[in-house]
Symmetry: C2
Subunit: 299 residues, 2 copies
Amino acid sequence: MAFDEIETPFGKSGRIIGGAATYIAYAASNFVKPIQQVSVIGNDFPQEELDSLQQRGVRLDAVEQVPDRKSFFWAGKYHLDMNSRDTLVTELNVLGDFKPVIPESYQGAEFLMLGNLAPSVQISVIKQLKTRPKMIVLDTMNFWMDIALDELKEVLTMIDVLLINDSEARQLTGEFSLVKAAKKVLTMGPKYLIIKKGEHGALLFNNKEVFFAPALPLEEVFDPTGAGDTFAGGFIGHIAKTKDISFNNMKTAIIVGSAMASFCVEKFGTQRLVEITKEDIDTRLNEFVQLVNFDIALV
Amino acid sequence: MAFDEIETPFGKSGRIIGGAATYIAYAASNFVKPIQQVSVIGNDFPQEELDSLQQRGVRLDAVEQVPDRKSFFWAGKYHLDMNSRDTLVTELNVLGDFKPVIPESYQGAEFLMLGNLAPSVQISVIKQLKTRPKMIVLDTMNFWMDIALDELKEVLTMIDVLLINDSEARQLTGEFSLVKAAKKVLTMGPKYLIIKKGEHGALLFNNKEVFFAPALPLEEVFDPTGAGDTFAGGFIGHIAKTKDISFNNMKTAIIVGSAMASFCVEKFGTQRLVEITKEDIDTRLNEFVQLVNFDIALV
């Protein structure tokens, strides 16, 4: 949970609410309650944002507010293609020495979504849970492959589903072919791998099946910030709602994640995620059905 | 119909049979007979290759063989990523002044697939047909946008379906967003636009619907040469077989095209296309169904 300041070819956001956990909670809260949030914020984090999350069923017992320090802050500028960006400012602030403490009230959680953060922090959360969740999903990024590969490899042995993008899958395995990369990742711990390809959709692998979910073709990507986290939130939200961890239900969860991500990019930050209704989500899910549905009986 | 010499990270092909019309005919002949081929070859083109095509139901009445000249020849080398390549040699030879003549025996063709060639040559073929085909599909490339844009714009007004890749769609329209690019293309003549995205699949647009077909995730792309032409051959082959030019059937045709392309890249040149059976094709089509099939009723 953090602040972002985003510049795209369409404009500047000013200082807005961001952070992986924020996006995940906004997306997942459309599908399941309560959500037990674990995060850290500074004294600058607005109370009305915390109230808004609580109203959506997000519990904040383990959101530590540090009285005399500031929240994490990131500023970035997207290039014209909206696929690449420059980081202008990164201020770790309270995130620099974040040591999450899982309260008794959170014990027994059935589904755990670990947003992108230092693998050591992710490990600490897993170890504090007295009962292993039914499914642990982990997001990470190239940064941790560069500076904390050993810890990352350790946490990979503790999880069920890894969520990375195509270039990260290549970096982690040294394989250019995503099919070969997936095979390698599945020997490193995770039983499932989701490779996010941005505007090109996402792939889900287990050791014998593969599923492909497209991204919705959009006229305009206004701001891609948080799209990956929103995807993760939709994914885990659907799994937690249905309590079904089969490959078949994970396919549906990926479509739900893709639908949520397609909303996220329509406005700056979490703005669009806050607005949308159940009906908006259903309409968009139906667009995904139309997008990929074909009749092979005709061949 | 031509010769290629291909180098990939996996090896060198030596001089092999290539050419858009060859790939299209090999792919389409799995679905429909006869195919009325229009092309030009030199005195170096092997008779056994012509025999092989004829045995598959490809008629060669309008394949002009120029006695004292050589066939078109292209040599290229793929980079490690297999997405980009350098052209090492281009010898136009007989293709330099090709003026196709449509014989009386070809009149009445219901479906016309115009492979990538100078727009003026494509126009000439359309104009020689006394009855307009039910569906005209056109493939082209950035090269013609650079040197023959006016003729290309003219032929676009004469066709039904345009087949280009993502960067060509952007170049033709000046729009980065493929959705916006599609809208512009659909004002230029074609009623349907297929945007090929290589390993990222293909999109089909008309003025109110969009369909997305994935590419099959492959462990290895051995040689991508001809994959786009093979896609086109599978597409038009399915349409010609079913004689159904609805959007719904075009979706299926794109899956068929994608399946054929997924075979093409498994070996050098047309080698794999020559080998495969009806059963191989059915098995692969079923893999596409599995790849994108999900149950949204669960949401």
